[in-house]
Structure formats: structure tokens, C-alpha cells
Assembly symmetry: C2
Homo-oligomer: 459 residues x 2
């Protein structure tokens, strides 16, 4: 028909042009499709999802389609939940840097579906835990809860049983646990790394509550449980927690009394790194803390209430940190006298406040200070290395996590005569010549740590 309309010669030209256009169009379409999968510019929709979909289809054909579920047992917050002990103004100026939206996305839910008709139950109430535990300790003197006046401590952390959505996420989880292993070995702490969601309703940032409860009851020999987020790292390998300071307290968190009790500020304390004594009081506060946690309507409604009641809190579902602020602020008489809000050293510090200053710290200060000069724990709030990448923050997070890790690792390696070539490098070099008498050159500036007897895991 085209030939009849245009004539033979023109028809041939038309067909030739059409063929070339088809090839051109096909190439362009293919290119756009694959580029979209790789580059992922915003205009294309959810490109990271496509990228991982392509990767999954090609590399893991037997894996379930539809993207990896969210993380569990990880603290996900873009909180500016730490005030620099000496620079609150600096913190406030940087508040906007933290993308609260990221906090509200991907809060680590597992894809279990609890029965909405079943009321949430935390198990039978225990009312005499102190007596039970005292009797057990009396019968098991080999597992004393104090050794040389130092409490037996179990450091608890964890992550999802599933691989991270982000290909490098598990690598940073690995570095983080290696970092914790080092600190704990030096300081005589035990570690429990959880990869199990013990209660489907208490998923996401709430998953730590049933875990902590089970561990307290399962380890009567443990005096203090130290919860630490997987995105928090030890950056002072020498600093020893001042346990004696807390002899009359049961819960220690980084924070400020006025921010919690006076302002009811949702970031007046931080639950990414805290100490909890193994006692009846702690079981009671866990019970008081938990009700806002069950996911779904309960958590959503609780979130609205928390946003209304707490200062500066954005709108999102209830998180454990806000719930703790609320509990303490509204029931200060009940809990306050046993809660220590610590701000003299960095039981936790928001990474953004000081990660650019590691070189300055190395030049001016030394390990063992634990505070703004040499922070005990650097906490990468808002970074979420395990979740899919969202924005430019990711690149900065990973780079700074590497630096923080190396900053801590150098303090370990130095005892063996090594150090990293730079804070950005995984490579190491010798800084102390080998000798025929290695025991004479052990660093005399630091004292050996106290011994600690082991926990009683009966397996």
C-alpha cells in the first residue's frame, strides 16, 4: 500500500528509513532500560529497586522475588539524639542534616504477620526476680555476678537473619562486630549477637526488648546487660565504664535530665547504647516500655501520641527511644531515681558531631578519655548501611564508618606493633621493630584489665 501511495523508489527509501529507525529505536530502548537499572536517576522511579531486582534475577535466580525484607534488630533512626557534651549549639545547627524521613522508612520490619486479634503478651509476670536470682547466685558461686568488685557484663547486639539489601551492608556489620569483639576482649565483657526475631509483633527497633528480657532471665550471672546498636562502634578501646558510679542505678543512658524531664525532648536520651541491671526493676521497666511497640495500629497510634507529647518529634510510628523519654518524663517518680542520664563521657555520640576530628584527636589527645576528646562509642545514626542506598548521605556514612573503625582498630593493632597506613586504609604497616624480647616492650602506659569469669551458657 505504501508503494502504491509513494511510488516504488520512494517506497524503498521509506522502508529503508523505517528499518534504520527501528534499529535506532530498539537500541535506544535497550540502552534506556539497562541504564535505568544501573544508574538509577530519580526520574526513573525506584531505580535502586530495579538494580537489585536485576542483580537478584541474574545472580540469585532461586531467591524469592520482590526485594529483600527490611532489617530487624537494628536501631534505625536519623535522630540527632546526641548533644555534644560541649557543643549543643553545634548540634542544633546540624539537626537538619539528618534526614528524619530515612528514619521513618525501612524501620527493620520482618515480614512476619502477627495475628491482629491476639492481644500482645509479654509472658507471665515475674514479681520476685531478685529473690530467684539471689538464690541461684548463692547456689552457683562459680558464676558470681561481681568479680573483684566489677560487675559481670554481657554486651548484646544483633542484626537481621537475612542478608542486607545493600551489598556492602553486611561488610559494615562484620566490621562493627569485629570492633565490639576487640573492646570486649580487652575489657572482659561477654557478647551475645542476635540474628533471631523472638517476637513478631516487636519487630524493628522494638526487637531488642524481648531479646533483652530473655537474656536477663537466661543469664542470672550477668549483672549488667549492655545493649549496643549494630551501627555503633567503639572508638576508645581503653576507656573503662565507671561501674562504681552506677552502683545505685539500674539503667544508664547517654542524655540530659533537663532535656528529658523538663523539655520531654525526643532526643533527650539515646537508646542505641545503654546499660541495664539484671533485676526486678529492669523487668518492670521493660514491661512499662513495651506497650507502644506492637506493630500495626498500636504502634501507629502510639506514634501520634508521642509526636504530640514530645518536643520536636516528627510524625512517625512509635520508636523505643521516644517511648522511653515519654515513660521517664511522665513517671519520673516511679523510675527516675534509678535512671542515670550520663553526659560526662560518650556512652554514645552522634557521628556527625566529631568524625571529621579524628586526626585532631590523635594529635592532641589519647585513648582512655571516653568523651568529646576521644569518644567511647561513635554511633552512626541515620546511616543504615544495611538498607538500600537513598542519597548522598550513604557515601559519607560509609567513608566515615571506615574511619571510625580504623580509628578504633589502630588502638588494638598498636599493641602488636602495627597501625593502619591511614584512617581511610585497610592496609597496615609496622610501627615498632620486632625484637628478641617482645615482653619487655609491652606498652607500659596502660594497665592490664581485670579478669572476668565467663557466663554460664548451659548448652
Amino acid at each position: 500500500m505504501i508503494e502504491r501511495c509513494l511510488g516504488a523508489q520512494r517506497s524503498r527509501k521509506f522502508h529503508r528509513a523505517l528499518r534504520q529507525c527501528k534499529v535506532t529505536a530498539l537500541c535506544l530502548v535497550l540502552t534506556v532500560v539497562v541504564l535505568r537499572g544501573i544508574i538509577g536517576a530519580g526520574e526513573f522511579g525506584t531505580p535502586e529497586k530495579d538494580f537489585y531486582e536485576i542483580r537478584n534475577r541474574l545472580y540469585f535466580p532461586s531467591r524469592k522475588r520482590g526485594g529483600d525484607p527490611h532489617r530487624v534488630l537494628e536501631e534505625r533512626r536519623a535522630t540527632s539524639s546526641s548533644f555534644a557534651t560541649h557543643d549543643r549549639n553545634h548540634y542544633k545547627n546540624n539537626y537538619d542534616e539528618f534526614n528524619v524521613k530515612m528514619f521513618m522508612e525501612d524501620n527493620g520490619e520482618d515480614d512476619e504477620k502477627p495475628d491482629p486479634n491476639e492481644p500482645y503478651s509479654r509472658g507471665p509476670k515475674i514479681s520476685n526476680w531478685d529473690a530467684q536470682r539471689a538464690q541461684w547466685l548463692n547456689e552457683n558461686p562459680d558464676f558470681a555476678n561481681f568479680i573483684n568488685k566489677k560487675p559481670r557484663v554481657l554486651l548484646v547486639t544483633g542484626s537481621s537473619p537475612k542478608a542486607c539489601e545493600n551489598p556492602v551492608g553486611d561488610h559494615y556489620l562484620l566490621k562493627s562486630i569485629k570492633n565490639k569483639i576487640d573492646y570486649c576482649r580487652v575489657h572482659g565483657l561477654e557478647i551475645f549477637y542476635s540474628t533471631a526475631l523472638l517476637d513478631a509483633e516487636m519487630a524493628g527497633f522494638w526487637a531488642k526488648l524481648p531479646l533483652i528480657r530473655n537474656l536477663l532471665l537466661g543469664h542470672p550471672e550477668v549483672e549488667f546487660l549492655w545493649w549496643m546498636d549494630s551501627d555503633a562502634m567503639f572508638t576508645d578501646m581503653t576507656f573503662e565504664v565507671p561501674w562504681e558510679r552506677y552502683k545505685d542505678y539500674n539503667l544508664v543512658m547517654h542524655g540530659w535530665n533537663e532535656m528529658v524531664y523538663d523539655q520531654k525532648n525526643w532526643i533527650g536520651l539515646n537508646t542505641g547504647s545503654f546499660l541495664l541491671r539484671n533485676c526486678q526493676w529492669s523487668l518492670d521497666i521493660l514491661d512499662a516500655w513495651a506497650p507502644m511497640g506492637p506493630k500495626g495500629k498500636v504502634r501507629d497510634d502510639a506514634g501520634k501520641k508521642l509526636t504530640k507529647e514530645l518536643k520536636d518529634r516528627p510524625a512517625f510510628e512509635a520508636d523505643d527511644q521516644s517511648a522511653m523519654v515519654y515513660s521517664l518524663a511522665t513517671e519520673r517518680d516511679k523510675w527516675g531515681d534509678k535512671v542515670y542520664l550520663e553526659s560526662e563521657y560518650y556512652l554514645h555520640v552522634n557521628w556527625a558531631i566529631l568524625v571529621d576530628r579524628y586526626e585532631e584527636m590523635i594529635e592532641k589527645y589519647r585513648p582512655g578519655l571516653g568523651d568529646h576528646r576521644w569518644p567511647l562509642v561513635t554511633h552512626f545514626v541515620g546511616c543504615k548501611p544495611c538498607a538500600k542506598f537513598g542519597d548522598n548521605l550513604a557515601e559519607r556514612c560509609l567513608r566515615q564508618m571506615d574511619r571510625a573503625f580504623t580509628f578504633g582498630d589502630n588502638q588494638i593493632l598498636r599493641t602488636y606493633g602495627f597501625t593502619h597506613k591511614s584512617l581511610a586504609s585497610g592496609r597496615v604497616k609496622r610501627v615498632r621493630n620486632e625484637t628478641r624480647n617482645p615482653l619487655e616492650v609491652k606498652d607500659k602506659n596502660f594497665k592490664p584489665v581485670q579478669s572476668q569469669a565467663r557466663t554460664m551458657d548451659t548448652v
Copy 2:
């Protein structure tokens, strides 16, 4: 000029065709390039390398170009290096399943370039380590090398400072260290997780030697160092190593005397999981072991020698396991009386022999046996989850590693009243009702482990 040759009209046609061809060609080139990076079919060369190159360029623009370096500090072998204690024939039938080619690729070299003109040096020879150590122990009674007759043990493992080439590799490294943390907590062992290559020449499977030496010298309080590969997992959380059996020995490996000393079989023993006493003898055997390690000509030539001298060894560069077989077989008088080749329980077992039998084990046996009925350590030789995927073996490896991990994890979770829903599932369920008296229901079948004082990391 074209216009002069062809005439105006033809020239326009020519130019138009040329433009269309250029567009077509550009599209085709772009499409091929990005497809090559994504799909990675063999004909395109090293597609996985391009895929990660593209990913790196787009997601990590500040990272160094050139592809990810190989792994370090990991045991890479496709060895059939373990004979089933009760089923050597079964093992031999499965030998071909292990892809020795995989072993020879990607042996974990870091991309450091040691100076070929510098002779390899392991540092000044120490000749009186026993005396130095005895004096130190005498001066530091808080850090005794034995507690209640049990030796102080440091479990050592590690992996590369860089993220795995395989996106899920780090996830399996993470599960593996969580598994080791659990066993060590139960049994009173300390852990050192290394992510540093201490000696550029001794890369790949040889990296453990300088690490072990530095740790022995850095931890005089440690009596035994237990090296364990990152691809080995504890599958019996109850079994206690029979330390008393080894009181007159300095090196314990899984293996068989006749396979090593009579046959000089390269898989007559396994160096993926072994115990090494902290003493002068051990420093000496490390010195004797190391010479085949330096990468390059030394390692290549040594490989040829080992292939010639050892039974059934394929041709590839010298590995630490073959070198140990060779050292023992050729210098039995020098070392043999202090080496215990253990075959009564699975200090290591090749995964392929028994991973399909976990359900049968659960049905018939119980933890604490440590042998073919309930193996202490399941070792995923040949799997290399951190390296890029090579073939169908990868899928089976990951699935079985999950099962082995869960098999071990169930033994830990049970103490808290939980278990996984199946060996293939990351989800857990309660198997013991909660109670108001949790201490009355602690499992009475197993005894508490002995306490162990901490190591002396001075930081």
C-alpha cells in the same frame, strides 16, 4: 569532497545514511557495554569484574578503581582435606565434586607488591620464648595460662579488610563469626578476629602465619591458640575439646598418621582448624613452615615441589596445608612427637560428607559427641562464599551453610526456649513456655562450663 565525488543529491543521501549509521552504532556500542557489565556472559571476558567496576564507579566514586582485590586471611581450598572418620570411601567418591580449579583461583591475594629484591624476613629469631614467657607469667599471676586445669585459649579467625566480591559473602562471614562468638562464650574462649594483612608477602592462605606468631608473642597468657577458618562453623555447641589429652603435645590437627607420614597425602591433615601451644617449639615450627609461603617465584616453585612430593596433590602454588604435610613427613623425628593428628572427633570435617544428615543427627543423637554423629566443626572447604560465584556449587554451598549455621544456632536458642522453624529458616519459634520461675527450668542435662579469666590485651 564527497559532494564533488558523488554529486549533491547522493551526497545528501550519503550524509543522512551516515548520520543514521552513527546513531545506530552508538546505541549498539552503549548497549553492548552496559549489557556486558550486567549480564556477564562468558564470551565477554571477565564480566563480573565489569559489573563491579560499573557498580563501584556509580555508587562509590571515591573508591579506588581496578576491581576488588582478592581475599586475604581466609582459607581457600577446594581440598577434600578431611576423611570421614568412619567413611573414607564415601569421601573418595566425592573427591571430584570439589573444584580444585576454584582453589587455585582467587587465593585471597592482597594487591600489595612486595619488593622482589628483599629477602623474606620473619623478624629476629627468638630462642628463649619459654623462659621469657615463664617469667612474665610469674610476674602476672592475674593472667594465669591455666584456670582450674583448663588452658587459656584464644580462638583466631579473620577475613579481608575489603568487602567480598560476592554480595552475600560478607553475610556468611557475619553468620560465621556470630557462630564462633556463641561457642566461645559457652566454652570460655577469647576471640581475635583479624582484618589486617600483617605481611604482604604472606598473603592468601599463608596470612595466618605472621598473624599467629604476633598473637602468640602478644599474648603470653594464652596457652593455646585455636586457628579457625572463616568458612568453618561450630556445629556442636556442647562438645568440649579434651585439653588433657594434649598435655604433651603442641600442635593438634584433624588427620591421620598413616596418611601423612606413610602416604604423604596432601589431605592427610587439615589446617583449617588447629590448636597451637604458645611455646618455643611452636615459634620454631612456624619458622619451618613459612619458607614456602612468600608469594611469587618462591611459592610457585614450592608448589611444584609439593605436587611432586605429595600424594594426589594437583598442580598449583604452595599452600600452607601441603607445606605442613611435607614438613611433618620429611622431618618426623624433629616435629612428630609433639604433633597430635586427631581423628576421634571432628576438629574439622568436610561439609560435603555430612551436611545432608543434620536431620538424622537430630533424630538419633545429641550435642556433645563432636564426631560423625554430631560434628564439632563443619568446614565448608571449596565454597568460598566471599569470592565471585563460579558455578552450581555456590548455590549448594550457601544453602548448606545456612543449614549448618541454623543447626548450631538451635543449640544456643534452645537454652532460651526457642528454635528455628526449620534448618532452612531464619525465623524462630518458642519451644518452651514462659514461666514465672525461669531458673527452675534451666536445662539440667548439661553442666555449666568452667570460668576462664580474660586475656590481657593492654590497650
